[in-house]
Subunit: 248 residues, 2 copies
Amino acid sequence: MRRIRLIIAYDGTNYCGWQKQPNGITIEEVLDTALTDLCQEPVEVIGASRTDAGVHAYGNVAVFDTEKTKMAADKFAFALNQRLPEDIRVQYSDEVPLDWHPRKRDCEKTYEYRILNRRIDIPTERLYSHFCYFNLNVEKMREATGYIVGTHDFTSFCSIKSQASSPVRTVHSLEIYQDGDIITIHITGGGFLYNMVRIIAGTLIKVGMGVYPPEHVKEIIEGRDRQLAGQTMPAKGLTLVGIDYYED
Amino acid sequence: MRRIRLIIAYDGTNYCGWQKQPNGITIEEVLDTALTDLCQEPVEVIGASRTDAGVHAYGNVAVFDTEKTKMAADKFAFALNQRLPEDIRVQYSDEVPLDWHPRKRDCEKTYEYRILNRRIDIPTERLYSHFCYFNLNVEKMREATGYIVGTHDFTSFCSIKSQASSPVRTVHSLEIYQDGDIITIHITGGGFLYNMVRIIAGTLIKVGMGVYPPEHVKEIIEGRDRQLAGQTMPAKGLTLVGIDYYED
């Protein structure tokens, strides 16, 4: 038996998220089908990040076990891409120990939230960014990030549907880049609560619009109430950039 | 009677190009339908650039005439966007003289050809760039651009299906930008032959791969033979950035 690890990029537009479900097609299901065909044995992947419907990824991580296949571990990426639709692409594959579990190890996750900030939407951006008509003050958004970085109780930035045992998380860094009309929120942390990045994006957008002063974000955190923070921004602006497991 | 000018951005993925045709839906047809509905009179646009199937635009230009509508010229962009699918967005509208024709005036057109140059494709790039597995030498591509800029007989860079009366065109500038895995060919000129930008892209890619030395591009131009140049690259990597009519 071998355990193979995959680094996977996908365009989430046409999927009901990562995790298998009865109502629509998911990334996990497509991977399992392709791997079962490739390995000629029943295969089920274990994913690191169960991204929501419409969320994109450059580097989600998954593992699977295979008994039968003798293929070299690094060749799985290429062989699997022959069997996958073009909106899912395995970037890399290698072998890991049989007990290596992508959700049970210390790691740092990096996400990006992309905003198109201009008067009228650009069609080629519509699938991968959130269009915002209001002129955003990026300097004020940057000021607000200082209150979010660090270890906090993020109840205010967590969907009430969350089943997490603790609302405490650590944000390692939170940067805002601007390139013409595109504003990118770049965030890394040791794990995020359900919808946390999209709620942080919604809160920073309200700061950028002038609805909240930057220092109000401190009160939002301390209030521990989801209703204090901004909206959950649409999934299409969010991309899981990558997961760093330190040891590798 | 008034003549209204539109600056139009679109994602060409789902269209059979600009120009109306019996076999599929086109940008022109969608605009005519939306304008006829908005103006409550039969409207037909005249487009500046009849882009091919799959080609994108940030700033194509079109005009139409309206007798009935009293709407302020700058409001057409917003009113029209309410009636257009999200992959077509009018960026701007204004009034021009009744004899202002978008194809019969001196202008400079700018195109970009986008290449994703890495080992494995990224799904979120697949609709808007050409994926190239071979490592491209951007410095050599830049060397080759010097032979293309200027006024030349571009027969070697023109589809044999062209109906142009003269193969002479002037390329004003040709720059190659690199941003990580993305290589962008940025070209401006006083007009281009049929498929000319996509054939220049195919030729520069061959230079970047080392198939042609940069100075071979001079021979390709002088040979006046389409078979000497590189392939016509796929439409999806091409975007009409904009058209500058100088006088405005």
